[in-house]
Subunit: 511 residues, 2 copies
C-alpha cells in the first residue's frame, strides 16, 4: 500500500461535526509524485493481481473483511467522531461493509460472473470479461465505511481484478487510515502485490483531478454531488484516451401517493415517510425529497401527520460544515420560492450540536412546481416537498419535467395501479429502482439491486454501484479466436476446470 501522507505539505485535520473540535491526527495532501507512485505501483500490481486465481482473490477480500472486523471498534469510533453519525449506525455500516466484501468474495469464488461464452465454430471463439486495470475510487461523505476506502466500489473493483487507488474523503481521513491499514494487513497476509491498493489524501480537488487524468487510470467510481460527478466526468472525457466515470450523483427520489392508499392509511404513510426523510439526517442519496399527490382531504390528513412528525424530529449534526451550510441555504431558498409554503420545521438544535440540522417540510402546487425548475434540485438533508396536483393531468405534467432518479416510489393500493399505468410508466422510465409501498432508503445489497439511474442520477444508467452487478463497471469482454486451449484462461478452457456456468453454442450449462 502506498500511503504517502507524511510529506509535510498542506497539513489538515478532521473536525468532529458534533462538537466542532479538531480531531487528533494530521493528514497531508498528496503530491503529484505521490499520485505517480501510487499509479505506477497499481500498474505493476495489476500484472500479478490479474493472474491471481479466483480463490486467492476471494481469500484476499475475505481477509480484508476480517481485518476490518478486528479493528472494528477503533474504526467505528473514529468514523463516528469524524462524521457525527451515531455509533450504532456505524456498527451497522461496518457489517454492511464486511458483508459486501464477502459477497464479492463469493462471487469471485463461484467464478461464473466473468460470463464465459463459447462458440465452437469454426472459427472457435471464446469470450469472457477481463479487468480494465487501475480504478480510482472516491470516498463518499455520507458512508464513511460502506462507500469509502473499503466500500462497495473498492470491493467490486478488487473482485474484478483491478487495483484500487482511493482518494479518501477529507471529512474522515482518520477512518480512511484505519481501514487502509486493515487492507494493508490483508495484502501482507495474502501475499498480494504491493500497489494493489493505495490511499491518497487531499482536502481540495487537485489530487482527485490528477488521479482521473493520470494515463494509467482505467476507470473512476464516485458517489457524491452532481457538481462533483460532472466535474470528474468532464476531466475523464477530455483525456487523450477517455475513461468511464461511474458517478452516482443523487436524486430527489419522487414518491407518488395514489388516492386509495391515502384514503386508507394516510397517517401510517406519513410515519413511514417521515422516518425515511429524516433517516441519518436525511443524508442518503435515496432520501425521498419529493412527494407527488392529488389534492384531497386524505392528502390533508397525510400532510398534517407528516408535518407533525417533522416538527418532532430532533436536530442532529450534519456530516460536514459545508453540507450543513449548503443544506441550510438550499432548503431556505426552496422554501422561500414563489408559491412554496414551509409547512413544518424540526426542533432547533441543542447547544451541543455544532453543525445542526433542522428537518423541513414544504409544499407547493403542481402549477408552481412546473414553473420553477430550481424546485427539482436535490436538497441534501432532511428536507422534503409535497407537490399538490389538482388533477391527474397535472400529476403527469409534474412527472414529465423530472430528471433521472435513483428511485421512484409508488404508494398505492394494488387495485388502483392499472388505472394509473401511464403515470407509473412515466415515473418508472426515470428511475433505476421502483419501490411499491415502501421507502427508497435502505438499499439492499443483493444481486437484484439496481443503484444508479438515468442521468443525472448517475453518469451511466446501465450500471449499478450496489450489489454484485457493480463488478461489471470494471471489466470489458475480450474474445480469443482459435487460441490454443492450454493457453486460454482457465475460465475458457474446454475442460471447464473451474466448473463454472458457461454458455456454449448458446446452451447455458455448468459442465
Amino acid at each position: 500500500m502506498q500511503t504517502p501522507n507524511s510529506n509535510g505539505l498542506h497539513p489538515f485535520q478532521a473536525v468532529n461535526p458534533a462538537t466542532g473540535a479538531l480531531l487528533e491526527g494530521t493528514c497531508f495532501r498528496a503530491t503529484s509524485a505521490d499520485v505517480d507512485a501510487a499509479m505506477h505501483a497499481a500498474v505493476t500490481a495489476f500484472e500479478a493481481y490479474r493472474r491471481a486465481g479466483k480463490d486467492e482473490k476471494a481469500r484476499f477480500l475475505r481477509t480484508i473483511a476480517e481485518e476490518i472486523e478486528s479493528g472494528g471498534d477503533a474504526i467505528t469510533e473514529r468514523a463516528s467522531a469524524e462524521s457525527g453519525l451515531p455509533l450504532t449506525r456505524l456498527r451497522n455500516e461496518l457489517v454492511r461493509t464486511t458483508t459486501q466484501l464477502r459477497l464479492f468474495a463469493g462471487l469471485v469464488e463461484e467464478g461464473s460472473w466473468v460470463q464465459p461464452v463459447i462458440h465452437t465454430g469454426p472459427p472457435d471463439i471464446r469470450k469472457m470479461l477481463v479487468p480494465l486495470g487501475p480504478v480510482v475510487v472516491f470516498g463518499a461523505s455520507n458512508f464513511p465505511l460502506a462507500f469509502s476506502v473499503a466500500g462497495g466500489d473498492t470491493a467490486s473493483a478488487l473482485a474484478a481484478g483491478c487495483p484500487v487507488i482511493v482518494k479518501a474523503h477529507p471529512a474522515h481521513p482518520g477512518t480512511g487510515v484505519l481501514v487502509a491499514a486493515s487492507i494493508q494487513s490483508a495484502i501482507e497476509k495474502c501475499g498480494m502485490p504491493e500497489g494493489v491498493f493505495s490511499i491518497l489524501f487531499d482536502d481540495g480537488h487537485a489530487v482527485g483531478a490528477a488521479l482521473v487524468k493520470h494515463p494509467a487510470t482505467k476507470a473512476v467510481a464516485f458517489t457524491g454531488s452532481l457538481k462533483g460527478g460532472l466535474a470528474l466526468q468532464k476531466l475523464a472525457a477530455e483525456r487523450a484516451i477517455p475513461i468511464p466515470v461511474f458517478a452516482e450523483m443523487g436524486s430527489i427520489n419522487p414518491v407518488l401517493l395514489l388516492p386509495a392508499a391515502l384514503e386508507k392509511r394516510a397517517a401510517e404513510i406519513a410515519t413511514q415517510l417521515a422516518g425515511s426523510i429524516t433517516l441519518g439526517g436525511g443524508q442518503f442519496c435515496t432520501k425521498p425529497g419529493l412527494i407527488l399527490a392529488l389534492r384531497s382531504p386524505s392528502l390533508q390528513t397525510f400532510t398534517t401527520a407528516l408535518a407533525a412528525a417533522i416538527r418532532e424530529t430532533a436536530s442532529v449534526p450534519m456530516l460536514t460544515a459545508g453540507i450543513h451550510q449548503h443544506y441550510h441555504q438550499l432548503s431556505t431558498a426552496t422554501a422561500a420560492a414563489d408559491g412554496v409554503t414551509l409547512l413544518a420545521e424540526g426542533a432547533s438544535a441543542s447547544g451541543t450540536v455544532h453543525f445542526p440540522t433542522r428537518a423541513r417540510l414544504a409544499q407547493v402546487s403542481a402549477r408552481n412546481f412546473l414553473s420553477n425548475p430550481h424546485l427539482q434540485e436535490e436538497v441534501f438533508g432532511p428536507f422534503a416537498m409535497i407537490v399538490v396536483a389538482e388533477d391527474l393531468q397535472e400529476l403527469r405534467s409534474a412527472a414529465a419535467v423530472l430528471g433521472g432518479q435513483l428511485t421512484v416510489t409508488i404508494i398505492a393500493e394494488p387495485d388502483e395501479l392499472p388505472a394509473h399505468e401511464i403515470l407509473i410508466q412515466q415515473l418508472a422510465d426515470l428511475a433505476g429502482r421502483i419501490v411499491f409501498n415502501g421507502v427508497p432508503t435502505g438499499v439492499e445489497v443483493c444481486a437484484a439491486m439496481q443503484h444508479g439511474g438515468p442521468f443525472p442520477a448517475s453518469t451511466d444508467s446501465r450500471f449499478t454501484s450496489v450489489g454484485q452487478g457493480a463488478v461489471a463497471r470494471f471489466v470489458r469482454p475480450q474474445a480469443w479466436q482459435n487460441w490454443p486451449d492450454e493457453l486460454l484462461p482457465d475460465e475458457l478452457k474446454s475442460a471447464n476446470p473451474l466448473n463454472i456456468i458457461r454458455i456454449t453454442d448458446l446452451t447455458c450449462a455448468r459442465k
Copy 2:
C-alpha cells in the same frame, strides 16, 4: 415508417463507383421537421413496441428477414451498383444480414437475454434489462446491408425493444430505400406501430447531428471513421442529458509474426495475410494494417512473398470518391514518411474502374515507427506496413505505443507463445479480439464475438456491435421492489410464465 424523402430540398443522387455514372433515383435531404416527425413517431411507437410480447418482436425480426430475401435480387443489384462491391459479396452480405435478424429473433424468443435476477428478500427485489427508447443508427459505407439500414445495429436495437431511426449512408441511398421498404412491409404484416422504424437521408452532416441532438434520442450506433465517431460522441456529450454513442471507429489491427512460425511457413502466412489485406478492397475495419516482426531471413522470405502477392492484386473500385481520395493521399503520405519504404504496389487500374485502388505494402524499422505517431493512423483500403524490429525490446516498445484495436493477431507456433507472454499480454490489452494463426477479417456473427475494442477502436470497449451481445447497448437494468406479482413484467413474475433462465437468490435456473 417515416420516409420524408421527397420534400424537394437538396436533391442528391448515388454514384456508381465503378463507372462514375449517376444512378437513377433522387434522394432529398431531410428537414428538421422530418427529423422531429421521425423522432415523435418513434416515441409514440415505443409505448406500444416495448409492450409487444417476445414472440411478436421475434416474428417482426423474422418477417423483416423474409421481406429482404424476397426483394433480395433488386437489393443486391442496387447495392452493387452503389458500392462497386461484387454481386457475390453482396449476396453473402445479404445472407449475413438476414441471419443476423434471425439470430436476434431467436434471442428474443428464448427470452433469457433480459437477465432476470430475483432476490426473494425481504425486501423482494427483481431486476431485468429494459429498453432505452429510440435509437439512431448510422449506415456504414463499407457494409451497405449488414451494417446499414437493417444491419446488426438495427436488428439488435429492435430486439432490445427500441424503435430505430436510420440515417442512411449517402453512398447507397437506393439500397436504403429498398431495404426500408422491406422493413415497412414487415411492419404492416406484423401490425407493428408506425414509427418503430424510420429512415432519413442526407448527403451532409446536418441530419445526423440533429438526430443525435434530438431530446427523444436515447442512444446512437455508428460504424465509420474516427473523425465521424468522435464528432457524434462530442455532440452526445454536450446534450443537456448526455446519451451513449456506440461508435466503432476502426483500427490498424496489428499482426505479430513470431520467429518459429515464420521459419516454418513464411510463404503460407504471406498468402493468408495478402488475402486479408486486400479483401473487399481492404475496406474492412478489421483489415490487418500493421505487421510486427523481428528481423530475420524468414521475415525476408515472408516480405518477398507478401510483396509479390500485393503486386498481383488487381485494382478494384473503392466505395466512394472520398474514400478513394483519402486512401490515395494517406497511403502515399505514409509510404513517403521518413524511413518508410514502399515495397510493392498492386496493378494499376484498368480503364473501366472509376475510383480505382492500388494495393500497397510498405516497410519501416521499429525505430522509425516509434518516432512518428502518424504511422499508427488507419489507412482505410488495401494498405499494410511491416514494422521490422531488431530485438524483442523493440517489438515491445512498438506494441507499447499502439492505441486500442478491434483485433490483434498472433501468428506463432504454439510452443513459442509462453516465451512471449508479456508481449502478447501487451497486445491483448489493446484489443477486443485476439486471433491465433488466422486473419482478423471475417467477423463471425455469434454470441462469443467481441467486435469493439479499447479507445479509439470504439467509444466503449465494454460493448460489442456484432453478435447477440450487441443488444446490451440499448438496454439498462431496472429493479422492482415489493411490486405486486401480477403487475410485474412476465419475465419477473414468480411463476416464470415465459420459462426463461433466471437467477433467483444467486441460483441460476430455468423456472
